[in-house]
Amino acid sequence: MVELFYQRDVYGKTLVELGGKNTDIVVLDADLSSSTRTGLFAKAFPERFFNMGVAEQNLMGVAAGLAVSGKTVFASTFAIFATGRAWDQVRNGICYNHLNVKIVATHAGLTVGPDGASHQALEDLALVRVIPGINVVVPCDGPQTKAAVLAAAETPGPFYIRLGRAKVPTIEGTGDFRLGKAQVLREGGDVAIIACGMMVGNALKAAEKLAGKGVRARVINMHTLRPFDAETVKEAAGTVRGMVVCEEHSVVGGLCAAVAETLQEEGYCGRVTTVAIKEKFGQSGDPDELIKSYKLTAEDVERAALESIRG
């Protein structure tokens, strides 16, 4: 039986663990502490938790002020608000000064579900990835979430860690997390499937189905978008005939773009197909319905993989 975890539960518990070891850890939220699970830290260390109310610009500005005074600050809200609402504060306040602020944004992507388009961040990775110096991590499951949060706490500088709302299955072999080093979860020489976040699970399912059709798929968990592991992409490009990039995000500006930026310097002649959201806003619905409607299922990954190697 595969274990299922809410990444945000893991985040909240990891914060409590960190807070017990390091008194310089301070946590901020903007009235979503029950959803982001920073509330667990608030309960354990009330004197080091500050709720900023419904004010995300102030959330990021206060985080910057605490960090420039020597604190390691975790600041959480939903992905849409952390990036869109407070981008200038993240860019000019936190990142320009290279401060120790770890933005852990939850409820990213379509799988937010019923809340609909206003709450479904499909552009957040694009918005943060363009800022110099920020580390961008999209963990795929519970154990990887814990590893990423621990890495952020001990690595100087700003972070953006993207978490989903829904439960995700634990994937074997993802706990050995190294910032900026992609994980090859399955070897294969015909096609490479590069994925992040909840799409990693779908990529592995697709690889299994492809194997039944005699197509050997390499599955790469590209959990870190910055610093980007270009080497792993280039190595795959030199081996496989086709590539698929999968993300629960717009096809513009996120993982698909990072892979394309890497390959354009490589003279790679194969095709790259994408399983991502194309020029659309989200909408209300159950996560499963939305994943089907926006073509992010394992079957969609399989189809895109076959297309990438079609002559």
Binding site: V26, G53, A64, G65, S69
Partner: protein
Amino acid sequence: MISVAGSGHPGGSLSSADLVTALYFSVLRHNPSDPAWPDRDKFHMSKGHCCPLWFSVLAADGYMPQCELFTLRKFGSILQGHPDRRAPGVEMSSGSLGQGLSVGVGMSLAARLDGRQSRVYVLMGDGEIQEGNIWEAAMSAAHYKCDNLCGIVDYNGLQIDGRTSDIMGLEPIKAKWEAFGWHTIEIDGHDMAEILGAYKEAAGVKGRPSVIIAHTIKGKGVSFMENNVEFHGRAPTKEETEQALQELE
């Protein structure tokens, strides 16, 4: 220095000059030879475009040699067009208006967590407080009873496009800060006794933050710059510079 740079913001630098000079030379506990002294008081210039003033005060105080001032806005200089941590004594960059009071709240909370007596001063422009982020920060400073935080509003009544009263009215400014839970002190921002009195009064307030609303004159001290919006963001010519320096002496 703005004349040599060829661009910059003289008007708001001059309106804040008395406020910032008094702060550095009579109020702040700090050590120019040890800018990172942990128990220092902190100053943050949220109206970052007036950094020529800040850099001048820092140089006069010994944070950097005076000659450095003439590199303002030049390629490779530690004195960027807006405050930057390359300059010794600058805690945090600014330039995008409306963010500095939040930074001050963060500094204030950090000092409290660390059990330090440090006070935090944040200088804002009057046009700047049209930014919504200022009022988010104002609300949070009162909520968290940041009595080690002192805001200063340089109320010179002018912004780039004209008079604040024409562009986006600020009044009743005192009532606004009071309604947000701040101890509010209104002064003539060019009267040294009133300035020092206000800083002293603010330091004695317990349980809530203080704000000094300082009525000032944009371009103060230079006849042709005073209350002249043209000098918000333009450098004086060589002739204007000579006249200005004569008048300021």
